[in-house]
């Protein structure tokens, strides 16, 4: 009796979110399903570059033109997700002059506005550039927050009637009579927002068309439908620095290579990247040499990076694709263009279309083209307005100055809350009084955290991505427990505990790759705070054995610790008092000795 929708979009990255927004605005009944939280796959694991197109101006001018066009669109419709940092392609003495000229001409040919700077002018704009940088091309690269972008797209889709399900992996693609008719999903916590410890159910969603927008995972979804999609996933490392050594995007002006970009992002800089083909987008090695390469090579451009504090590293997997038979050896040579695969035409399996390749900057254009295709297949007539309609949060300029007064926030906090929330700042910040800061490194207040919990449920990683809470220097050491405590208004204790552990472990994953110098000191401090001071690792609430509270000191006035401790001696892990005589033991100076250890519980 399942209701049939028009379209199911699989994959909550930038492409999927863009597609579901576009379809919903065109009046189709659409559902987005994502196995993790939004941006869980590749979108949330990139350096946040909003391409000017300069990067492709020599090798792939079609992509370069698309980039500059969409760059302009996003500055307009997604202003609260974009920081107009500007960018430079810088040339060191050993880099080719010929290539520098090619780059310049390529940019001009693609209508990318450029300006040539001499070394002195480049250093005036970016004082930490190396002394021997000879010259640079300035162009309109920018920084984009991929998560805010996806959330805004999903929110707009929902406002236009779409349904968005996260933590809902597709377990099967339904094929009937040689046609795709929907998908089966598993709700990891029950439909709607994520809640830890809630049992899951499965659901069949029947649809007139299925869009497979799972990027590097497209082969897996294809397999469920019985078709081959030959994605060639390629991993790349991103290393996060603790501060903005540069305020513009710095690219190395040379043909191609690892470790050639520094992107300023919020309070940090992100160094990128490597390009290595992997077999499985979920299981690949994260290697030391990649991190070392970022720091060594990029400090040739910005020497301060060499001794700067690194917060963490993370890896993303590019959903590279090339038509069967192309046979490119080196993943860096595979095109960054996108491909729309209609499985009716291609595999004689109507009802499903896959989109692969592409990049975040052109996500909207990709979404438009696949939505056009879906509308044609479904015989639905509607025009696309996503290039003009601003995303929620970008309708008007945030009122920073007024916010400071209105909410009594100190200026940097107000400014950053305002940037994160865009035009939604008023409604969000007005909600909570008092509104203390929960994450000090990033200046995130309770109101923002509560707003994100309202959207994401008990998934604190989704809260983190929405607010940046726990993404600063301490990497969650001082705020994981605070963020988790904010769940307590709405959720019972075990949910709070699980959510806290999950966020803490997630923060640890990236710090493993930055474990030296000041960040190693920070890691030790975090360990001491969470294990020593809070005893989260040895909390009896998490241990299997029962604690014999009577075997412990109950205060000087309470007499010897409970007399029945000896009887229950082997019942629990704690009752390892080994027959010690309690108070008397301190007077004899000697330890109760070896027999104490022999019956010590285990």
């Amino acid at each position: 009796m399942d209701h049939q929708v028009d379209v199911v979009v699989v994959g909550g990255g930038s492409t999927g979110c863009g597609v579901v927004r576009d379809l919903a605005r065109r009046g189709l009944d659409a559902v987005l399903v994502e196995k993790g939280n939004l941006t869980h796959g590749t979108t949330g694991r990139m350096h946040g570059l909003l391409h000017s197109g300069g990067r492709y101006a020599v090798s792939d001018q079609k992509s370069a033109r698309e980039c500059i066009e969409e760059n302009r669109v996003l500055r307009d419709i997604a202003s609260h997700c974009v920081e107009e940092t500007g960018g430079m392609f810088v040339k060191r003495p050993e880099d080719s002059e010929e290539y520098f000229q090619e780059k310049l001409e390529g940019c001009r040919a693609c209508d990318i506005p450029v300006e040539v700077l001499d070394g002195e002018e480049a250093r005036r704009r970016e004082p930490y550039l190396a002394r021997d940088v000879e010259k640079a091309i300035a162009l309109p690269d920018g920084a984009v927050d991929p998560f805010r972008l996806c959330v805004s797209n999903a929110a707009d889709a929902r406002e236009h009637g779409a349904r968005v399900e996260t933590h809902a992996p597709v377990t099967d693609v339904l094929v009937e009579d040689g046609e795709v008719v929907g998908v089966e999903i598993e709700h990891e916590t029950g439909p709607g927002k994520r809640v830890h410890r809630e049992p899951g159910t499965t659901e069949e969603i029947r649809a007139r068309h299925v869009v497979n927008a799972t990027g590097a995972w497209a082969g897996n979804v294809g397999e469920m439908a019985g078709v081959d999609v030959e994605v060639r996933p390629s991993k790349g490392v991103m290393t996060v620095m603790n501060t903005r050594q540069v305020d513009t995007v710095i690219n190395r002006c040379r043909p191609k290579g690892d470790a050639d970009i520094v992107v300023p992002h919020e309070t940090a800089c992100i160094l990128g990247t490597t390009d290595e083909e992997v077999d499985d987008p979920e299981d690949y090695p994260e290697e030391e040499w990649e991190v070392d390469l970022m720091i060594e090579t990029l400090s040739e451009l910005v020497p301060a990076l060499k001794d700067a504090r690194t917060l963490r590293s993370f890896w993303g997997v590019r959903p590279l694709y090339e038509p069967p038979g192309t046979g490119t050896e080196d993943p860096t040579d595979i095109t960054r263009d996108y491909f729309l695969l209609d499985h009716g035409d291609r595999d004689d399996l109507p009802g499903m279309t896959t989109i692969v390749g592409g990049k975040l900057t052109t996500y909207r254009m990709m979404a438009e083209s696949i939505s056009d295709h879906v509308c044609e297949v479904l015989g639905h007539e509607a025009t696309c307005d996503t290039a003009e309609a601003p995303l929620p949060g970008s309708e008007s300029d945030a009122r920073m100055e007024e916010l400071m007064d209105e909410f009594g926030l100190r200026s940097p906090v107000a400014r950053r809350s305002g940037q994160r929330l865009g035009s939604r700042a008023d409604e969000v910040l007005d909600e909570y009084d008092p509104n203390p800061i929960v994450c000090e490194c990033e200046g995130v207040t309770r109101a923002e955290v509560q707003d994100a919990i309202g959207e994401a449920g008990s998934d604190l990683n989704a809260v983190r991505l929405r607010t940046r809470a726990s993404m600063g220097n301490c990497q969650g050491g001082f705020c994981t427990h605070r963020i988790a405590s904010e769940l307590a208004r709405e959720y019972p204790e075990p949910v709070v505990r699980d959510a806290e552990d999950e966020l803490y472990q997630e923060r640890w994953k990236g710090q493993r790759h930055a474990l030296w110098g000041r960040q190693l000191s920070q890691a030790m401090l975090n360990h001491l705070l969470h294990a020593t001071t809070m005893n989260r690792d040895g909390d009896p609430a998490n241990l299997d054995g029962e604690v014999d509270f009577g075997a412990f000191d109950a205060g000087a006035g309470s007499g010897p610790a409970s007399a029945d401790a000896d009887e229950g001696g082997d019942a629990g892990t704690a009752a390892t008092d080994g027959g010690r005589a309690g108070d008397d033991a301190t007077t004899d100076g000697g330890r109760a000795g070896d027999n104490a250890t022999t019956d010590g519980g285990r």
Binding site: D292, S485, R497, W516, M524, N535, A585, A596, G600
Partner: protein
Amino acid sequence: MAIDSDVLVVGGGLAAITAAISASREGADVRLVSHKSSTLRQASGLIDALGYVPATEPAQPLREGPPTAGRELDRDEWPDPEGPLADPFEGIDRLPESHPYRVIGADALREGLDLFDELAGDAYRGSHTDRNALLPTFGGSVKPTARYPAAAEAGLASDDRPALIVGFRSLTEYDARAFAGRLEAAGVPFDVAGAEVEFAEAFRADAKVTRLAKALDHDEEIDGVPAREALAKAVAPHLHDVVDEAGGVDRVERVGFPAFLGDDRGDEVRAELADRLGADVFEIPMGPPSLPGLRLEDTLYDALDAEGVRFETGNPVAGIETEADGRIETVAVDRKGRETPYGADAFVLATGGLVGKGLDSDREGVREPVFDLHVEQPDDRYEWFVDDAFGDQPYARFGVRPDERGRPLDGDGEAQYANVFAAGGVVGGADAAREKSASGVSLATGLVAGRQAATEATQ
């Protein structure tokens, strides 16, 4: 002209003070130099000895080679630690052989605790028994500890009187309701409820706990009501919040607050609150800045002063200046940019671990920056950690490895210098965080290092 003493202690925390007083009591002329404020203010103020014997092997190896993306951890796969231990001494034999307790002996811990009891006096409790106490932590857990501030005593988890945990809406460190729920999940033998109250709202939304402590110390007026009275009024409506197993309502007999109940006049503040509430009052030790930690620091420096030890802070030891025959003669102390030689017959290194900067590291390795002592470590920094944040982290055990006299060993297992002794966080081999042994290791190694340094110096 070198500034001379029999024993020079480098460092300013619990281990350094223990070492300085221990050396002084052996008749040595002692001087203490420390770089900056100690990490005591970041510690909870509880004196842990040994609360757990942590598992040292994962249930199954998570990976070979580099970390791997995507593979999720299942904490249930990891073995539980042994504990909480009711008797800290009883677990020592099951610690790794390289643990400082195993190397210098359990008696050092016992004597270190005795010395602490003497120095801390009335401010601390727990010396009446060898057993650990279980105290609520601000994470909502309970933790085994050997000594605890008098201000925390009414919070003992083995006490079966019903309790109320108070949280403040403008403080973000914990939510009292989740806190109480977590205590229940731990199986505590008392009924407990949590209440979030409005009190600190009178201050700026993110006022520091030190500010609140001061307001209570001076009983400042808040909207015309003295602070202590205002606090009691905010809590009073919740004194019957506890519901027992049978569904009956009990009046709580004790009330726990985050540890900011006064700074200089804490006893007075607690007594007045207890009187107004008709219930005992206790403090829950918090993270940095920790008032119990700051109070302990004051107490210990007073004791150091009373002992006649000369001390100076703000001047880092830059390194060794002269050495001969395997002994250090003088070190260079950086006094506002000018290096001054300090000479001694014996040295105690108590500069702390990775947090206190007694250990330094870069991508190539970990080192001890003052005397360049040998620090045992895997060559590859990707072997400094394991994938579970709370697993058996090699980095947590970093430090110098002492002989039974407390002298750091070189790579061949010989004492690196005949007259250098180490204590506290700079000593490796313990996983103090998971064992809940940080203070005990500082007391035990401080005591041994101080005594041995004095012996070496006065020979």
